[in-house]
Amino acid sequence: MNALFLAFSYLRFHWARSLVLVLVAALIMFVPVATQTLLSTSERALVARGEATPLLLGSRGSQLDLTMAALYFSQERPEPVAMREVEAIWDSALGIPIPLHTAFSSGGFRIVGTTLDYFDFRDLALASGRGLSVLGDAVIGSEVAAILGRGVGDTLVSAPENLFDLDGVYPLEMPIVGVLAPTNTPDDQAIFVDIKTAWVIQGIGHGHEDVVTAADVAAGTAALANAAVVQYQRITQSNIDSFHFHGNQDDFPASAVIVVPNDTRSSTILKGRYLDGESPTQLLEPGSVIQGLVDRIFRIKSLLDVVTAIIAIAAVCALGLAVFLSYRLRAREISTAVKLGAQKRIVLRLLAAETVTLLLVSGCIAGAGAAIVSRNADTWVGWLLSLGA
């Protein structure tokens, strides 16, 4: 008790030195634990999302880009597939296709055009509002709502692709009709719209004033459409009927298509159909792609572990030296204690108490930090994964 009192007094009096030692020791303990926790959670989150998505259909090209765009709504923009591929899956009756259109964003978050099947497939629940029902509606993830500070009744405007391209995609103002409950997945950071709304953003569909009025028809006046015709930037009850699409819907684009096969047999048949290397589309298992990515990351991690271990050893040596120097600084005190009659074990206890107190305080800080990381790992990993998106 006396040794602890003296150690505590010493550390408190030399608080700056003690603080540095405590922080260094805490970091030495905290960093490996926190890194390991975050990596484990990342691996689990990545693999879980991949394994929860049975098959993914998209244009032939980088499997990783396609997977990242479809599962994590990353900035990769794989070549789109035509909607006829979706129809082909429906026609095969081997599974349910869920198209995803992830080309646009708003407020830094990806706009995901999809169908209502996606919400059932991902088991997404609404925290407030309602689901998508009308062209132009938007349902936002929990983090989008939190970060943008928006909710049901507010609106979002899609970001233009290119500010200097006056002939390009016009922004569309979308009312927020629902906010999803948090899931700690990339869905928290997405803005969901019907895929047709995504096509409107892309300019494939649009709404505008009537070019030919009833008076024009009665008068037999020739109709002339030009830039003066007002295009609607928001879909409302009054103008929704004017929205229409140009071209064949089979040709409309989707970034990727999640395919949920009926059973293993259906899955095998579907995979067989897309084995042709000449086909412009590919069907892949996201779980395998993600596992490959994770294996690669963890191969790098093993190298990082070695580097971390070397740094940790160097840090421990530096800390040991600091503690040793601290002992040297207390040599006079030890000499006094011996002259005053302190037993050897008491002298050892005096020195040990300082080190033990330092390590205990450091351990508590590191433990508290590790607990915070552990408790928030899912959220932070979701955020970290979204940074790369």
Binding site: N2, T336, K339, G341, A342, V347
Partner: protein, 222 residues
């Protein structure tokens, strides 16, 4: 109080050798030890305190055969029977004056820091003129005040013998006499003998006896 017979001592590094055929210090006696640097004055104090052990001879202090005790026993004996006052005060910078006085109790499990000790510390500090400065750290005290704290620390365990090694060496001339008088006064109240190494010949009249260590050593030398 102290009795030495046929003492010889040498450091393992060689060179210096100390021989003391006979020396004694009575109870409550105040003896000064003088002599040139390197003559072995501090070594003698360390031998009496049991910090060093003699090669031959016998040292008895307060009825205990110090040179025959084990290391642990000598430490225990030192903690309970001897008070040390050092030239550099040897106070701990991280403890207040009060806690410096209590220090022997912090490092000796056999001593209990109870209410009586705390009250004694207050009394001692007041008698030494630092009663209102007990919560200050050494860096906030003058050198004279620091030595007063060191005297309180030496006396708090109520030792039978005070060993003073150049206790006034770092003080100004005015403070020297005051501090020495204070040490004698408190030692007298505690019933302790004082053996003090000093280079200051102006202080010698204040001692009951002066031991010229150079002569003493010559006498003991072969």
């Amino acid at each position: 109080m102290v009795r030495i017979e046929n003492l010889t001592f040498g450091y393992t590094s060689g060179g210096f050798r100390l021989r003391v055929p006979e020396f004694s210090l009575d109870d409550r006696e105040r003896v000064a030890v003088v002599g040139p640097s390197g003559s072995g004055k501090t070594t003698l104090l360390n031998l009496i305190a049991g910090i060093l052990t003699p090669e031959t001879g016998r040292i008895d202090v307060a009825g205990a055969h110090v040179s025959g005790l084990s290391d642990a026993e000598r430490r225990k004996f030192r903690a309970s029977q001897i008070g040390f006052v050092f030239q550099d005060f040897a106070l701990l910078d991280y403890l207040s004056a009060r806690q410096n006085i209590f220090y022997p109790y912090r490092i000796t499990p056999a001593l209990t820091l109870d209410a009586a000790v705390r009250a004694r510390a207050e009394t001692l500090a007041s008698a030494c003129g630092i009663g209102d400065k007990l919560d200050r750290h050494p860096s906030a005290l003058s050198q004279g005040e620091q030595q007063r704290v060191a005297i309180c620390r030496a006396l708090i365990t109520q030792p039978k013998l005070i060993l003073s090694d150049e206790a006034t060496g770092n003080l100004d001339p005015d403070s020297k006499a005051r501090i020495l008088d204070l040490l004698f006064e408190q030692a007298s109240e505690a019933g302790a003998a004082v053996l003090a190494v000093t280079h200051d010949h102006e202080l010698l009249p204040r001692f009951q006896r002066v031991l010229d260590f150079a002569q003493f050593r010559q006498q003991g030398a072969p």
